[in-house]
Amino acid sequence: MSGSTAADPALGAQILALLVEVAPDVDPAKVRPAEDFRQQFDFDSMDVFSFATALHAKFGIDIAERDYRELASLEKCVAYVAARLRAQESPATALKS
């Protein structure tokens, strides 16, 4: 993997595992992080929906419909989930400091 997924390899791997869970016919070794899922494996609206459902369940983040475009590639998705997780944690961080 390269690009922004390299910044958080653990998160990248978790998200890749979810991707394969909702699209079992996708070979995780062939996923190109920067390229849109739609172009790589004909991702359709149901795939995107299932992927968003899996991310919601795994990370406990709410994903508005208008944000589905942020899930278009592995890189974008890692960045989006990381940002959402930080946003959820920040109130707690603020309390501690």
Partner: protein, 357 residues
């Protein structure tokens, strides 16, 4: 061996999921069977106890053959087994056929009693064109589509109708519905399309059922076939059973489950064989209109194109509106254009009031 499609003649038992003595309920998966459409989960037709498994894994058996016996039905064995008429294939021919990735049952046999010999198999690829790719499953699906669609174009006198619909009410309703719900409870537009089509099929006669030797046989429940594209090519159209009776959230869950299982290669026997009408949607691909081909023995198929914002005249003004072109391909032996037009208009009216779907 249940028929898993109008053109299926035989299937290969891959694995038993039950053992003698096991109690199964209607719908439980009993076995996995390999067909041209991929591996299918074979479900039990009834609540019963398994007495004996008749067919061994690896065996290819024709449609109608008994796979297993339930307790209390001993007399049913003999006849169907006697009817076993799968083509004889010599062991060497079977092994070579597996190497070459061809189905020996499709090869014309020249041996004793028409058995397929090693030589028949080796000559088969030449007579059948280029040898199939290593993706034998994919080739099987391509072949199943070829057989079914050729039959459709040969036998069914299609007529086509197309209606443009303003989806503003449906999309507004959908946006509101989804905004108030977490991801797993949201709907896709496809669920609305499916429900509207299923309702119209239940209400308008002549579009839901099968065309057989005795002509058209109407069916009451709507088992809605949904065309699902496979990545890299090919498609299958398993059914959501009794789709007209299900709520939108139920239809959405079932559609999601179906798409994932189909792409993972796990369809159920009750899904693959029972569709009474089919919906195909190419909206994700950006085409305006799809002119679909009926899946025999069904008599109608409804196609949805992309939703695109276009100028639309409404109350004497031009407004941008999200439009979709909906097509109906129907069997002229059963219905005429007038009924077809009413059917499409009904779908439009249902989509105009999504809250009532």
């Amino acid at each position: 061996m249940p028929s898993l499609g109008a053109d299926m003649e035989a299937g290969t038992l891959v694995e038993w999921r039950v053992q003698p003595g096991a109690h199964v309920r209607r719908g439980d998966v009993m076995a996995l069977v390999d067909t041209e459409k991929g591996i299918i989960d074979i479900e039990s037709f009834e609540d019963a106890t398994v007495e004996r498994l008749i067919v061994q894994p690896g065996a290819r058996v024709p449609v109608g053959a008994i796979l297993a016996l339930f307790e209390g039905e001993p007399t049913k064995v003999a006849a169907p087994l006697a009817a076993l008429r799968a083509q004889r294939v010599s062991p060497a021919a079977r092994a070579r056929a597996a190497q070459l990735g061809i189905d020996p049952q499709t090869v014309k046999g020249t041996g004793p009693q028409g058995a397929v010999t090693l030589q028949d198999v080796e000559q088969a690829p030449a007579s059948q064109g280029p040898p199939p790719s290593p993706a034998a499953g994919r080739a099987g699906i391509r072949n199943a589509i070829a057989v079914s669609m050729s039959r459709s174009k040969r036998e069914i006198p299609h007529y086509y109708l197309q209606l443009s619909m303003d989806l503003r009410p449906a999309l507004d309703w959908l946006e509101q519905f989804n905004a108030a719900r977490p991801v797993p409870e949201r709907l896709l537009l496809a669920a609305l399309f499916n429900k509207a089509t299923a309702r119209a099929a239940a209400e308008k006669p002549g579009f839901n059922g099968y065309y057989g030797k005795a002509g058209f046989e109407a069916v009451k429940p709507v088992h809605l076939g949904v065309a699902i594209a496979l990545r890299g090519g090919g498609l299958v159209a398993p059914a959501i059973r009794e789709a007209d009776q299900k709520t939108l959230p139920m239809l959405m869950r079932e559609l999601q489950d179906l798409v994932m299982r189909v792409r993972a290669g796990h369809m159920r026997s009750s899904e693959i064989s029972s569709a009474t009408i089919t919906v195909t949607s190419l909206g994700d691909e950006g085409v305006d209109v799809v002119y679909p081909i009926i899946h025999p023995p069904q008599v109608a198929i409804v196609g949805f194109g992309s939703v695109v914002e276009r100028p639309w005249a409404i109350d004497g003004r031009i407004e941008p509106r999200p439009l979709v072109s909906v097509t109906l391909a129907a069997d002229h032996r059963v219905t005429d254009g007038r009924l077809g037009a009413q059917f499409l208009a009904r779908i439009r009216d249902l989509l105009t009031r999504p809250e009532d779907l």
